[in-house]
């Protein structure tokens, strides 16, 4: 055994003394430092998904709806004041408008101008993104009733804001306290595609509950609880 160990040492000594090794190790060290510096700047705790901006099955624009058209958040996310979940709006809520609005204004204008040029009646214009909504509902050309033989399929949105399973978050008291949606969700009305702005970590929640941030909550005199059992139950 002792003999073998000595052999091992001797040969490894030879190995580590090799010039190749020096090169390899120094390259690895440089690469490691470069990549580690990247890690250090974007260091995040497990479960921290700040900046998450997944591609959604339908390119729905919050900038257009909430920003430009000024639709109130709770018109679509009506669960926020009634339930713990704000909820993703069901397709029938979309259809309140999109039964009539089938394309963007510019697309319709373009078709009208084209029709004028070609001296014909303008055709119905349908946005390809809205077509995905209609397809999900099993609607054909006629939007008032489902097309026979067409199978409705629910839309599989990708969830952006997600808390761990051991956290119990309820939208209701936050809405009731008069907190703006943007406080947690960021300037959604400017986002083409929704992005997670805050890191939604416990420290971030607790800072607001403690009134350490310059939020509406702290100023309103509401004393949100910092008991563990408020969120962990």
């Amino acid at each position: 055994m002792q003999e073998r160990t000595q052999k091992f040492r001797a040969e490894n000594g030879q190995f580590f003394n090799g010039g190749v090794l020096t090169i390899v190790l120094s390259v690895a060290a440089v690469m490691g430092l470069v990549s580690l510096s990247g890690v250090a700047t974007s260091f995040r705790l497990p479960g921290d998904h700040q900046g998450y901006e997944p591609v959604q099955p339908i390119a729905f624009s919050h900038r257009l709806h909430a920003g430009e058209l000024e639709a109130p958040c709770q018109y679509c996310h009506f669960g926020a004041e009634r339930s713990r979940y704000a909820g993703i709006p069901p397709a029938n809520v979309c259809m309140n408008c999109h039964r009539f609005v089938t394309a963007s204004r510019s697309a319709i204008r373009g078709e009208e101008q084209l029709a004028e040029k070609e001296n014909r009646e303008p055709r119905a214009v349908e946005s390809p993104e809205l077509r995905k909504l209609y397809d999900a509902l099993g609607l054909g050309k006629e939007l008032s009733a489902p097309e026979p033989g067409k199978q409705p399929r629910p839309i599989q949105w990708v969830r952006v804001h997600k808390l761990p399973d051991f956290v119990h978050f309820d939208h209701r008291p936050h809405v009731a306290a008069g907190l703006a949606c943007q406080k947690c969700h960021g300037p959604v009305e400017t986002m083409e595609r929704v992005r997670q702005v805050e890191n939604l970590s416990m420290g971030w929640c607790v800072n607001c509950h403690r009134g350490r941030t310059d939020s509406a909550v702290a100023r309103s005199g509401l004393k949100p609880s910092t008991d563990c059992s408020v969120c962990h139950m």
Partner: protein, 1045 residues
């Protein structure tokens, strides 16, 4: 390129050598599995790195892969989660918000009113409907647990014909053809069901019988009360089950009727029983309850006086009581003289005559305000009860036979006839409507054999069972939470069942099937509506449109009506039946020897007749008296055990001379039991319990709950005495043989003791954990029974918790608590508590957050029993909090002792330091069998993972819900807005929860009760749970000392 080759060459050599050297350091076992290396010189150089273990290149490759892997892992975002909203969301539904539906429990024919809590389209919790006039918001353990069976992955999901999966139209066509053929030939068609309390099913059966005039419907109950009905037929001319009212009864004499545990309608009886034992209102009314029984039943454990008597002595006792009464009650008609000729008080094992004289005096003093009942299946006993109740004028007061109960209507005589027909091969078509005669009946094997020879057997059932094994057609019926239906537990109070989710399988209700086969097929909803339109709505008292009445009923779950004229019975005067000869009917034990042992069969509180035996919640629910889980056993008195030379856990073989059946069961020594009685529970050995071999965590020391392929416990049903006059549950002449083998019984009582260990303070008196007093003492001094010890002289606990807003507390009234254990299952369903299996319970690792401790005091038959629910006491000075090194258990501003699972690292210091032993540790990841069972989980409560401590949270999720509701609506929280799961289901209304900072709250009032005491006062814990002292209606307290076991 050549340069590089050379360099590589050099390294190759080094690599090889290194590999050899490293290989030497590899453990022997790995080395042994290494393929032998080919000789070095025969291998081409280029391939050397492949044959040797580790080379420089592979080393760097691995290094690089690990490095890159770590980088990638650091950046991963976890699985992409989809959010799938409705396409068209129903207006009443908001995701995340529970929806409640009123319905009726279908777990047994008692048909309690309940509310179904649905979250996002699936039922997750059942609660009693507090508006229901009969059940008043209670729901028993079985009802609570029945929700788990909804998601049972082993439920029957498709119809089968001769073992092959078939579609419904095909099944119908075949059955209709076969029935038609049998009908034309004039063959016998027999329908067998348990008690039909559903007016719709009743109507459909009637329709079927009209279509097939030679058909006959027989109903029976697995746990029969046929004798009560038969006795009323003889004495009153109508075969009805009276509707008992314990609230109005000031004296209750129960002769072996376990009305709080298993007899007829325990929830209803517990509600009215406790309502009649009220101590805290301005006028104290407290009934006197005396129990004569052979084994210690749940009801016996609550009785003010309990006497252990043989089941065969009940008739003699009642006769004696009747004689005494007839001499005292002058107004009533004297009892028939025949009674006087009968022999005197039974001499052996019977009670002192003074007891009967005392009881007779009490009964005579409370005429029209008393109740004499018996659970015996001896018609003579029941006739005597009827006579005594009639003599006392209790009919119309505490017993209602004009609006009778319809919860049990089985007819054992008819059943006996049917079995004879089956055995004679006379039955051509046998339709089983959700019944299991092969298991339930003593001659089940014969019935099974007879079914094999029957040309057409149709079994409608939720699960494969003993009877359906012989069926040609196996038809799935829906769980009661999936289907429309109705029930009428008491005449005039019909109730609706409504589906809370779309059926999970391809099932069809029995009413619908029968309607289709009799040519009037309709969806079951229409059938139910039609019944209500025709039967209930036609009552003139219901005004308005039917639709309004129907909508109102579905919303409320029940309707209070005048009973249908056909339901009102005209009772006949009692007495005529007395002339009939002979009332007794060849009892097997007539002319018996005094030394013979009696085998007493009984239904357990959670298992009953075994219909829910596949439910793991119920199997793991400790029996209220014996605290045994996951097994059947033979209960013996300590005297008999000593005589036989057996102790707890010794397996004995039971056999009864005439019955060719033996049963091997472990012994359990039961205080209070009659020394000549061996008591064995029914409902074990059920088909389908084989699945429990897989229950519990999988690890190397695991002991199986049941051996593979075996059923749980043994069936005692073959011992049931089946006579033409009824099935009786006691048999004389049982022989006990020792087998010299043992089986451990898992009991939850023997550990988690609050008592001070003997070695700590040998001379210390027992801690005053259970405090009790007598009614007379209580009336003199409401604080009687107090065993207050000196509190601490100095307080080391800092006053660092201010309860500015609320301070939650709970008060448990031990006088009211019957120990029925409904709260335990309610808590389990609400808080996602796992099932751990027998082995883990034996290792003291059961997970129930709420346990009920049972204490015996005194000795002999009159042993006093106290049930004490134990949950986390949420101490203001909590010992668990100070020892947690990671602050995973902390105090909240509203007085809760919060357990934070994501912070817990599992040191278990807190559990060690908890004097109440209410903390539970997740030794394993107790996952469910598969995903379908997981649908029952409450999404408001975290599912705990391995290595985490957990305990009662005072239903913090319900507190949060009520608080948020109040906040959103901008109002203060009202008292009673928060009802904990245990409190909600309690059939005795023993638990009150609320805010102590509100002086007007019920809990504050209860805390001011003179009966209030807290546990382990000398430890200065200031617990948030208090108890109200036990009061027994007896003259002198016999309590000498307490034993925990």
């Amino acid at each position: 390129m050549p340069k590089s080759t050379r360099k590589q060459d050099k390294l190759y050599i080094g690599g090889d050598q290194t590999a050899d050297a490293i290989g030497a350091a590899v453990p022997r076992s790995v080395e042994a599995h290494r393929p032998p290396s080919p000789p070095v010189d025969q291998t081409p150089r280029q391939n050397r790195d492949e044959v040797s273990g580790v080379s420089r290149r592979s080393f760097l490759e691995t290094l690089g892969f690990v490095f890159a892997g770590t980088m990638v892992a650091g950046c991963e975002r976890g699985p992409v989660e989809r959010a799938i909203p409705y396409l068209n969301q129903p207006p009443e539904l908001t995701p995340g918000k529970p929806l409640w539906y009123a319905s009726t429990c279908g777990a047994c024919p008692s048909a309690c009113g309940l509310l179904i809590k649905c979250r996002d389209g699936r039922p997750i919790k059942l609660e009693g409907n507090s508006e229901h006039p009969i059940f008043r918001g209670g729901l028993c353990a079985i009802g609570q647990a029945s929700i788990l069976e909804l998601y049972d992955s082993q439920r029957l999901m498709e119809p089968f014909a001769n073992g092959r999966k078939k579609a419904w139209p095909e099944v119908d066509a075949q059955i209709i053809a076969r029935l038609g053929e049998i009908g034309r030939k004039g063959g016998k068609i027999r329908l067998l069901s348990e008690t039909v309390n559903s007016p719709t099913l009743h109507r459909c059966i009637k329709g079927f019988l009209q279509k097939f005039p030679r058909a006959k419907h027989i109903s029976y109950d697995a746990i029969s009360v046929s004798a009560v009905l038969d006795a009323h037929e003889r004495s009153h001319g109508v075969r009805v089950l009276p509707h008992y009212d314990f609230e109005k009864a000031e004296v209750i004499a129960s002769f072996d009727a376990d009305f709080l545990g298993s007899w007829i309608s325990p929830v209803e009886f517990a509600k009215s029983y406790t309502a009649g034992r009220c101590l805290d209102s301005k006028q104290t009314s407290f009934s006197y309850h005396v129990q004569f029984e052979a084994r210690m039943s749940l009801t016996g454990s609550k009785a003010d006086r309990r006497h252990s008597v043989l089941p065969s002595d009940l008739a003699g006792l009642l006769r004696e009581l009747g004689k005494l009464l007839s001499s005292q009650v002058s107004a009533g008609p004297p009892l028939p003289e025949k009674l006087d000729e009968e022999k005197k008080t039974p001499d052996h094992g019977a009670v002192d005559r003074r007891v009967l004289i005392d009881l007779a005096e009490r009964l005579a003093g409370t005429q029209g305000r008393s109740l004499v009942i018996s659970g015996s299946q001896d018609i003579e006993v029941q006739m005597l009860c009827n006579s005594i109740n009639d003599l006392l004028g209790n009919y119309g007061a505490t017993l209602d036979i004009e609006r009778p109960s319809q919860q049990r209507a089985g007819d054992d005589a008819e059943l006996d006839l049917l079995v004879r027909e089956l055995e004679a091969g006379e039955v051509d078509a046998f339709l089983v409507l959700d019944a299991n005669p092969v298991y339930d009946l003593p001659n089940g094997e014969k019935v099974a054999a007879a079914l094999k020879a029957t040309p057409l057997v149709v079994s409608m059932t939720t699960h494969n069972n003993e009877t359906s094994a012989a069926a040609h057609f196996l038809l799935p019926i829906p769980h009661y939470l999936e289907s429309w239906g109705d029930a009428e537990p008491v005449a005039g109070i019909p109730a609706v069942m409504q589906p809370a989710l779309h059926p999970l399988g391809n099932s069809r209700s029995m009413s619908e099937s029968l309607a289709i086969w009799s040519g009037a097929g309709k969806p079951v909803r229409e059938l139910v509506e039609l019944t209500w339109r025709e039967i209930h709505f036609s009552s003139k008292t219901v005004g308005g449109r039917f639709q309004d009445f129907w909508d109102r009923t579905v919303r409320r779950g029940f309707a209070g009506l005048q009973p249908h004229p056909s339901a009102i019975v005209s009772p006949r005067q009692v007495s005529a039946a007395w002339d009939e000869e002979p009332l007794s009917h060849g009892e097997p034990g007539k002319g018996r020897s005094k030394d013979l042992l009696t085998l007493l069969l009984y239904p357990k509180v959670a298992i009953q007749d075994g219909r829910h035996a596949v439910n793991p919640w119920l199997q793991e629910l400790p029996d209220p008296i014996t605290k045994v889980v996951w097994d059947n056993y033979a209960s013996l008195s300590s005297a008999l055990a000593e005589q036989l030379g057996v102790k707890d856990g010794d397996i004995v073989r039971l056999n009864v001379g005439e019955v060719r059946h033996t049963l091997e069961l472990p012994v359990l020594i039961q205080p209070g039991q009659h020394p000549k009685v061996v008591a064995v529970a029914l409902g074990y050995g059920r088909m389908g319990t084989e699945r429990f071999f897989a229950v519990g965590p999988d690890w190397f020391q695991k002991q199986l709950t049941v051996e593979k392929g075996q059923t749980l416990g043994g069936s005692a049903a073959p011992f049931v005495g089946m006579t033409s006059a009824g099935r009786r549950l006691h048999v004389q002449g049982v022989k006990i043989e020792k087998t010299h083998r043992q089986r451990m019984l898992a009991r939850t009582q023997d550990y988690h003791s609050l008592e001070l260990p003997k070695n700590v303070d040998p001379g210390a008196p027992p801690r005053p954990i259970v405090q009790e007093t007598t009614l007379s003492a209580f009336l003199k001094d409401p604080t009687a029974g107090s065993q207050a010890r000196h509190g601490p002289e100095a307080n080391l606990w800092p006053r660092d918790h201010e309860y500015v807003k609320e301070h939650w507390a709970m008060v448990v009234d031990l006088t009211a608590c019957t120990g029925c254990s409904a709260c335990v299952i309610s808590c389990q369903a609400e808080n996602n508590i796992p099932v751990v299996g027998k082995d883990e319970v034996l290792r003291k690792r059961e997970m129930h957050w709420l346990r009920i401790d049972r204490y015996y005091a005194g000795a002999g038959p009159d042993v006093a029993v106290t049930h004490q629910p134990m949950m986390c006491h949420h101490c203001d000075n909590a010992p668990c909090e100070t020892v947690c090194p990671v602050l995973a258990t902390v105090h909240t501003s509203d007085g809760l002792n919060a357990q934070i699972y994501n912070r817990c690292v599992g040191t278990r210091y807190c559990a060690n330091n908890c004097p109440f032993k209410t903390r539970r540790f997740n030794w394993f990841k107790y996952s469910f069998e598969n995903e379908r069972e997981n649908l029952v989980l409450n999404p408001d409560v975290t599912v705990r993972s391995r290595g985490v401590m957990e305990k009662c949270s005072f239903c913090v999720q319900r507190i949060a819900e009520a608080r948020i509701e109040a906040k959103v609506e901008g109002r203060p929280m009202e008292d009673g807005a928060i009802v904990t799961a245990c409190q909600q289901s309690c059939p005795a209304s023993a638990i009150v929860f609320g805010d102590v900072n509100d002086p007007e709250s019920q809990v504050s009032k209860n805390l001011k009760s003179p009966r209030k005491y807290t546990l382990l006062k000398d430890l200065n814990l200031e617990p948030s749970v208090a108890y109200l002292r036990v009061v027994r209606n007896r003259e002198s307290s016999k309590v000498t000392g307490e034993s925990h076991g």
